[in-house]
Symmetry: C2
Subunit: 175 residues, 2 copies
Amino acid sequence: MSRRGVTVWFTGLSGAGKTTLSCGVAQQLRAWGLPVEVLDGDLVRQHLTKGLGFSKADRDENIRRIGFVAEMLTRHGVIVLVSAISPYRAVRQEVRQYIGNFIEVFVDAPLEVCERRDVKGLYRKARAGLIQHFTGIDDPYEPPEQPEVVCKTAEQSISECIDLVMQSLKSRGYL
Amino acid sequence: MSRRGVTVWFTGLSGAGKTTLSCGVAQQLRAWGLPVEVLDGDLVRQHLTKGLGFSKADRDENIRRIGFVAEMLTRHGVIVLVSAISPYRAVRQEVRQYIGNFIEVFVDAPLEVCERRDVKGLYRKARAGLIQHFTGIDDPYEPPEQPEVVCKTAEQSISECIDLVMQSLKSRGYL
């Protein structure tokens, strides 16, 4: 009851480093004994949003459901780390308002870098036309206008990026 | 952190008194300053499970999603009160295993009583054939075999039933 919860929302292209970063932050927070929950886009799609596709309407519904769960956990004092492409500005704004205690982390890496990394082999498939509606290829990504944190994962190390997020939590009184 | 969370799962026919009961329990727990979340079947269908229908597969998916969220909240020390018809025994068993700290409350009222109450006017519609797959009319309800609590809402008062649930939370060390 005493702790103030918060949602830290990692947005960015596939391969930008959202999952790596959110897991790194989670690990540090857990080491301090803090209550943490990671809501990863891929995992969430298996559980909460099975059956949703990648149209704008389905993507927005996906984000709203994550927001619905994140809000409840935040209200109960949990530090919720959401890792989801969440390409549309308007619905990110909507969940920000809905949740209240909210830190937006723009995981910012150039498309070329993400495509070169291609951790999941998805860019290759998208370029080959095997996947449609792929963010950055044939689907839009609207970068945040005023994110609380920007992590340039092509230029900064993972630990530098983790530090930026931790600093942001500290300076806002969440730690 | 310190508190042990638990999910209290109210199952029973439409009109049996699940929502009344879970709200009554929530009120008592909140008055003691305890962290409580009510996941009501109707509300959840607007947020987490929009688009799901009332086939067995969709009902099971509905219950699994509620279970997914209830588990997270439970793990973070929240007392989660789920109010959902949840007519199928197997998937109730599944979420029980998944969540771990689990109290099943069978809100047990005879169909005739629920139909006479008909708070939402749904039985009338189901009898008139305007709603299909209505639990108790043309869809099955499988009563729990070994619920932790049975509330006979046609015979016991609301406050007696609330007391039964509170006793059950106390005797298991959740309060």
